[in-house]
């Protein structure tokens, strides 16, 4: 079906109308009968509601609020990880354009980290690059980061992870404005990935939806236990940050 030709209109209503003509005829015949309710029906049909009832909004629970704070803390740690990679390894770019870009990207990531940290509250692991990803994604390849291709590929992976993680967070964040803010940062990360991809020569998307395959592992998320501390224990002892282990 050509949906690109100007003036062409497709009506779902016309499609539905053709299929229901037979049903209407059957209903008419049934209505003409004095033998009681139509086949398949008993009693008086339930009256339909023209305007369905609305769902009243509910206040978020403490667990939901904490989940948001965990998301912001995680985002801040991801931003710091990216900044750290650019600061440590981006300085070794031989290409002058990538070298200059790495410096700017590091600054942008540090600014983003501060934005998210401000929303995370008092959270374990805050203020540090994501420890899990540093250990599992950066450290294993550190010795190989000796040329532009390797450095750009690592940076691309981290940027794609940020984009995928932030888009995923859109599905859970409570505040609509923060959902937009997350996407603004995620899309920016995806743009950097498009520049740095394929060893620094750039890549382009192959599908209409940004893939979420680079979503960070569960262990990379910074979390805080919301369980109430046992009697006599300090509240801080009830909190644990997985990324700091």
């Amino acid at each position: 079906m050509d949906t690109t030709t100007p003036g062409h209109v497709t009506s779902r209503r016309s499609v539905l109308a053709a299929g229901t003509a037979g049903l209407a005829a059957t209903a008419l015949l049934a209505a003409c009968s004095d033998d009681g309710p139509a086949p398949g029906l008993s009693g008086t049909p339930v009256p339909t509601t023209e305007v369905p009832p609305t769902v009243p909004p509910r206040d978020p629970t403490e667990a939901q609020l904490q989940a948001d704070r965990d998301t912001f803390a995680t985002a801040s740690s991801l931003e710091l990880l990216a900044a750290d990679v650019y600061r440590r390894f981006g300085v070794d770019f031989q290409d002058p354009e990538l070298l200059a870009a790495a410096e700017r990207f590091a600054t942008d990531h540090e600014a983003a980290a501060a934005i998210f940290a401000a929303e995370a509250g008092d959270h374990p692991g805050l203020g540090e690059p994501n420890a899990f990803l540093e250990e599992n994604q950066v450290a294993p390849v550190e010795s190989l980061l000796t040329n532009d291709v390797a450095i750009a590929d690592l940076a691309t992976t981290i940027e794609n992870s940020i984009a995928a993680t932030y888009i995923t967070a859109v599905g859970t964040l409570l505040d609509a404005d923060w959902r937009q803010t997350m996407v603004q940062h995620g899309a920016a990360a995806a743009r950097r990935a498009a520049v740095l991809g394929n060893g620094g020569t750039g890549t382009s998307p192959s599908a209409a939806r940004f893939p979420l395959s680079d979503l960070i592992a569960t262990d990379a998320y910074l979390t805080t236990s919301t369980e109430a501390p046992a009697e006599g224990e300090e509240g801080a002892e009830g909190a644990e940050g997985e990324a700091t282990e």
């Binding site: 949906t3 690109t4 030709t5 100007p6 062409h8 209109v9 497709t10 009506s11 779902r12 539905l16 305007v51 369905p52 609305t54 769902v55 909004p57 031989q94 290409d95 354009e97 990538l98 870009a101 700017r104 600014a111 983003a112 390849v141 000796t146 040329n147 291709v149 590929d153 992976t157 888009i167 859109v170 599905g171 609509a176 404005d177 959902r179 937009q180 996407v183 603004q184 940062h185 995620g186 899309a187 920016a188 995806a190 743009r191 950097r192 498009a194 520049v195 394929n198 060893g199 020569t201 750039g202 890549t203 382009s204 998307p205 192959s206 599908a207 209409a208 939806r209 940004f210 979420l212």
Partner: protein, 253 residues
């Protein structure tokens, strides 16, 4: 992820366009099947279904009626770009992939429209605004399409905060992120400055609305809205070009 050490890649103007052609020749061109959601299934915004027939449509369904014409306008604009002779074979293949992505987005959004709504067609003004003029060279084609991608991405981004339905917001986020990457790919191939293509955060400036543009009306690109220096350089270039033309006329006389 293992990183195999290779010889350092040199980046040049040719290489920037090369990646578009290389991805077309060797990459898997995924023809994403159009996803058809059921209108109303899980997409109803809390509090949206009350009052008149118009407000009974969810915010999502209202949005898609405005977004579909824009995405279809992009398809038309790519048609115009691909109809000329300015593009190499491999570059044209990549642009067809971008065009197909917009078609897929339009198809997905169509599946989310209200059952009683007629599906809109391409916005003619937007299609005209972002269709490269006949005879345009490769750089002009790429620049025009890059502006189109920026505008579409900004449009969807600007709407994210209006949705209570987080699942729809997430899907739209995936679409706009791809469009942002397409803008970067086209911009890089057109040798636009890297800093303009990689802002600290994505912008909502330059977003479109279906029916917003009158025939012949122009919309500045998001880069132009924020980059005053490039505006000044453009004016200087225009003056230099005018001077060159004057000198050329004098020489002819």
């Amino acid at each position: 992820m293992p990183i195999e050490p290779t010889e350092p890649a040199t980046t040049s103007g040719t290489d920037r366009r090369a990646f578009l052609t290389r991805s077309a020749a060797g990459g898997a061109l995924v023809a994403t099947a159009a996803t058809t959601g059921f209108a109303g299934l899980g997409l109803v915004a809390a509090g949206a279904q009350e009052g008149t027939a118009d407000t009974r449509r969810s915010i999502n369904q209202q949005y898609v009626l405005g977004a579909i014409p824009l995405e279809l306008a992009a398809v038309v604009a790519y048609d115009a770009a691909l109809s000329g002779d300015a593009l190499s074979g491999d570059l044209a293949t990549t642009l067809r992939r971008f065009q197909r992505n917009h078609q897929d987005v339009a198809a997905d959004l169509t599946g989310r429209a209200h059952a009683d709504d007629d599906i809109p067609t391409a916005d003619p003004a937007v299609a005209a605004q972002f269709s490269p003029p006949a005879g345009a060279d490769e750089a002009a084609v790429l620049t025009t399409l890059a502006s189109l991608e920026e505008a579409l991405s900004a449009t969807h981004l600007g709407a994210i905060a209006t949705f209570e339905d987080t699942s729809f917001a997430k899907v739209l986020s995936q679409f706009l992120t791809v469009e942002a990457q397409q803008a970067v790919a086209l911009g890089r191939a057109a040798e636009q400055p890297l800093d303009a293509l990689t802002p600290a955060i994505a912008s909502t400036d330059g977003g479109l609305e279906a029916g917003q543009l009158e025939a012949g009306q122009t919309v500045p690109s998001p880069a132009a809205l924020t980059d005053d220096e490039s505006d000044e350089e453009s004016e200087d270039d225009a003056e230099t070009e005018a001077d060159a033309e004057t000198d050329s006329d004098d020489d002819a006389n």
